[in-house]
């Protein structure tokens, strides 16, 4: 996969929150062979806790994708993106503009506005969006060269709620990298996303809150590879009735 002139070998992006310890987080990133991790910005304490966390991330060698999580307006998200670029010295930004408190779905109107302003300012925007073709078109017009539709609400682990919509996005945006962001719960969900042609999966809670996050990170990496290879191999068409796979011709008459 190639995103914003960067080649990515492992189509799995990991969030860095909710792990039992920094060590487990580092081991999970390593086990998955993950090349891109998401981070956030929060108020610094007088003890300087942010620098310690950043060291933990830098030791992994992963590329940093800062997010604007928690922002509810384009203005907040734009300011947060500018602050992220100042700290992390990257023009990549995972643009989140939350629109609804219950399902954390993006406010796509504010999202498109923020994407336009940030793209014009040189940012490479990764927009967290609903699985909506028209929103996708507007985001591309705004300057986005990658789209990140949700699979299910953030942190819900429900898997792909609407695979048909993701298939439609794949068909409608054949040349735009599509990353399913949010909602993945199990390796089979990640594989399913890749099987229908998504280019990558971004997940956090599914690994961080697993019984063994490092093993789950490994399983997710295998799942996305299996799904990707399956997509490229061209899955068979579904049938409504059984068709014997063993030849009928030459069957012995034993009655």
């Amino acid at each position: 996969m190639r995103i914003y002139e960067t080649d990515i070998a492992t189509p799995l992006l990991l969030g860095t929150a909710q792990y039992p310890s920094p060590k487990v987080l580092q081991n999970a990133i390593k086990a998955a062979g993950c090349e891109i991790v998401t981070v956030s910005l929060r108020r610094e304490t007088a003890q300087g806790t942010g620098a310690g966390f950043w060291d933990v991330i830098r030791q992994t060698g992963a590329k940093i994708l800062p997010n604007t999580a928690g922002c509810h307006t384009a203005r907040e998200a734009i300011t947060t993106a500018q602050m992220a670029r100042d700290i992390f010295e990257t023009d990549w930004i995972k643009l989140e503009v939350i629109g609804h408190a219950d399902n954390l779905q993006p406010d796509v109107f504010e999202l498109v506005h923020a994407a336009r302003v940030l793209s014009a300012d040189g940012f490479k925007v990764f927009p967290y969006m609903t699985d909506d073709l028209v929103v996708g078109e507007k985001l591309i017009e705004a300057g986005c060269k990658v789209l990140m539709p949700w699979g299910a609400p953030i942190g819900s682990g429900q898997g792909l709620r609407n695979p048909d919509a993701l298939r439609a996005m794949r068909a409608h945006f054949p040349d735009i990298p599509l990353i399913v962001d949010a909602g993945i719960g199990r390796p089979s969900d990640a594989a399913a996303a890749m099987e229908i042609g998504m280019d990558a999966v971004l997940l956090n809670t599914a690994v961080a809150k697993a019984g063994d996050p490092v093993q789950m990170a490994r399983a997710m990496a295998m799942a996305v590879r299996a799904g990707r290879t399956g997509y490229q191999a061209g899955p068979m068409e579904r049938r409504d009735v059984a068709v014997p796979s063993t030849p009928v011709l030459g069957l012995a008459e034993l009655v």
Partner: protein, 65 residues
Amino acid sequence: MKIIVNSKPFDVRSHTLSDILTEVGFDSPAIATAVNGQFVPKKSRAETPINSGDQIEIVAPMQGG
């Protein structure tokens, strides 16, 4: 003069953003700043005047999804 840093009141002697950061003890290199909701880049902090009642936000890298 009285200012607000991350929602907490402070009484400071300094008058620029960079001096105030030092005075209130935020000396980590891994921070970003905003004054009254406006982003102030690292390189502009020394020339950014702070007035009484200003609200300063200081953020740092944190875990995120």
